[in-house]
């Protein structure tokens, strides 16, 4: 049963950590912790939410060292380069720009945005996966979206040139 959730855990960990080995380390620790605490799982909730909550907690615990490594990984990301099809003609959204904007968000906002984007959970499931109340989950998601949009807009604005500055 747990095995079926591993690909989803890996995907979320990869999005959070952005480096394959470090992400798999995080998943491995999550699985080992889950196995040790398996008697605590209640079948009333989704197993995936329970596992994601453990992964998220472990991620937050290791955030300082992961962030140090992560700062060096943005330009060398372990993701495929954006192809022409990845460019949204309507919103001018470029994959790498989006990722860079997400990277600039506070960690908890990053985590919630990535979770929603990757797993499309209901509010209740999402809140359970991150160990939050539903209201907190919703408001944090709203703030995260807002900040991400602001960053994308500011990134899309042309940098003022010297001629612009001189009028």
């Amino acid at each position: 049963m747990i095995d079926a959730e591993i690909p989803h855990l890996r995907r979320y960990a990869r999005a959070l950590v952005r480096e394959r080995e470090a992400a798999d380390d995080l998943v491995q620790d999550t699985l080992e912790r889950a196995w040790r605490k398996r008697v605590q799982w209640r079948p009333t909730g989704r197993l995936r939410s329970w596992l994601f909550r453990m992964l998220y907690r472990l991620y937050l615990d290791r955030r300082p060292q992961l962030q140090r490594a992560h700062r060096n990984l943005i330009a060398l990301d372990d993701v495929r380069p954006p192809a022409a099809a990845d460019i949204d003609a309507d919103a001018s959204l470029h994959c790498r720009e989006v990722l860079a904007a997400i990277d600039a968000l506070p960690e908890k906002q990053r985590a919630i945005l990535l979770l929603v984007a990757l797993e499309q959970p209901s509010y209740r499931e999402g809140a359970r996966a991150l160990g939050l109340r539903v209201g907190t989950f919703r408001s944090r998601l709203s703030r995260a979206r807002e900040q991400l949009n602001e960053r994308l807009v500011s990134a899309a604005e042309p940098t003022p040139t010297r001629e612009d500055a001189n009028g």
Binding site: H8, D24, D88, L113, Y123, R145, N149
Partner: protein, 310 residues
């Protein structure tokens, strides 16, 4: 319906995002469509947010199809050592080595030398008995030295060493039978453990001495003298001996095909053709045939014993 209306009023924006992402439940599409029509600015933002989500999802969707690394499927088993465990192991070895060094600086017990155990082990490790006679038993040898009184062997699996062979070394005048257990790790490195019964003298802690220019760790447990010999630094051998002295008995080793020589990293080569009549040898373990194991004979002959206790 009343609940749905309340939820729509509470979360209209997220429903709009879901609507543009194509994952909104059909039962809520109509109300959401009405909301985005009435709020074009918010609808544009929701459309953009949905596009961002789709970008992210597309970016990582390939991960779902990647083969799962085997290490992620071993969560129900003993955890593989990674750097925190390796650090812990290194610290434990360092502590053990320190304690062992302290122990090694103490006076060596004389009774072991007096009854010739160390000399017999050193000679057996060299391949010859104290008087130059071969040490390997042949047909008719007892698998349990002392007439069926089995010698327990420690489990070194946690240290990466599995028992790959054992044998009975013929008594060459010491008055007691000597058993030998051979362990090997994944790198093919071997250690040899010798055991002999004797009266307890209350010296369970391993001590290292140098016999014939190589380290030899010895201790006593439950009325059995043990000596560990291996091609490794004295500190490492001492640490391994301390773990062996504190450990539990070994599990029976896996069965090897008959006639398949174990790779020898030290000591003489195997000579399968010289095997004694295996089926005539008794087995100390019920259900385990004597053909399960062979070990290289120190003199080039083929000593053969079943795995497990001796």
């Amino acid at each position: 319906m009343a609940d749905t209306d309340a939820r729509d009023r509470e979360y209209p924006y997220e429903d709009a995002v879901s609507f543009y992402a194509g994952r909104l439940a059909s039962s809520r599409e109509r109300s959401t469509l009405a909301w985005v029509t009435a709020h074009p600015d918010a609808a544009a933002r929701a459309r953009r947010d949905a596009a961002i989500e789709q970008r992210i999802a597309r970016q990582y969707e390939a991960v779902l199809d990647e083969p799962i690394p085997p290490r992620l499927l071993r969560y129900g088993h003993r955890r593989r050592a990674r750097w925190p465990m390796r650090m812990g192991t290194a610290a434990a070895v360092a502590v053990a080595a320190g304690i062992g060094w302290w122990g090694g600086t103490q006076q060596m017990p004389s009774p072991e030398r007096a009854d010739g155990f160390v000399q017999r082990v050193a000679a057996a490790a060299d391949g010859d008995g104290p008087d130059g006679t071969p040490v390997v038993s042949t047909a008719g040898a007892q698998t349990s030295p002392g007439g069926g009184n089995a010698l327990p062997a420690p489990d070194l699996g946690a240290q990466g060493y599995d028992m790959v062979a054992r044998r009975h070394v013929d008594d060459a005048g010491g008055g007691r039978d000597l058993g030998e257990f051979v362990y090997e790790n994944d790198l093919g490195q071997r250690v040899r453990l010798f055991a002999q019964r004797r009266e307890p003298v209350g010296e369970p802690s391993p001590r290292v001495s140098f016999e014939g220019g190589r380290p030899l760790a010895r201790w006593q447990a439950n009325g059995v003298d043990y000596a560990l010999v291996g091609e490794m630094p004295a500190d490492s051998l001492r640490s391994l001996a301390r773990i062996a002295a504190a450990g539990r008995p070994a599990e029976p080793a896996p069965v090897q095909p008959v006639g398949r020589p174990l790779p020898s990293k030290q000591g003489p080569a195997w000579r399968v053709g010289d095997d004694p009549p295996l089926d005539s040898m008794p087995s100390a373990t019920p259900g385990v045939t004597p053909r399960e194991r062979m070990i290289p004979a120190a003199d080039g002959g083929g000593g053969v014993q079943p795995q497990g206790q001796m």
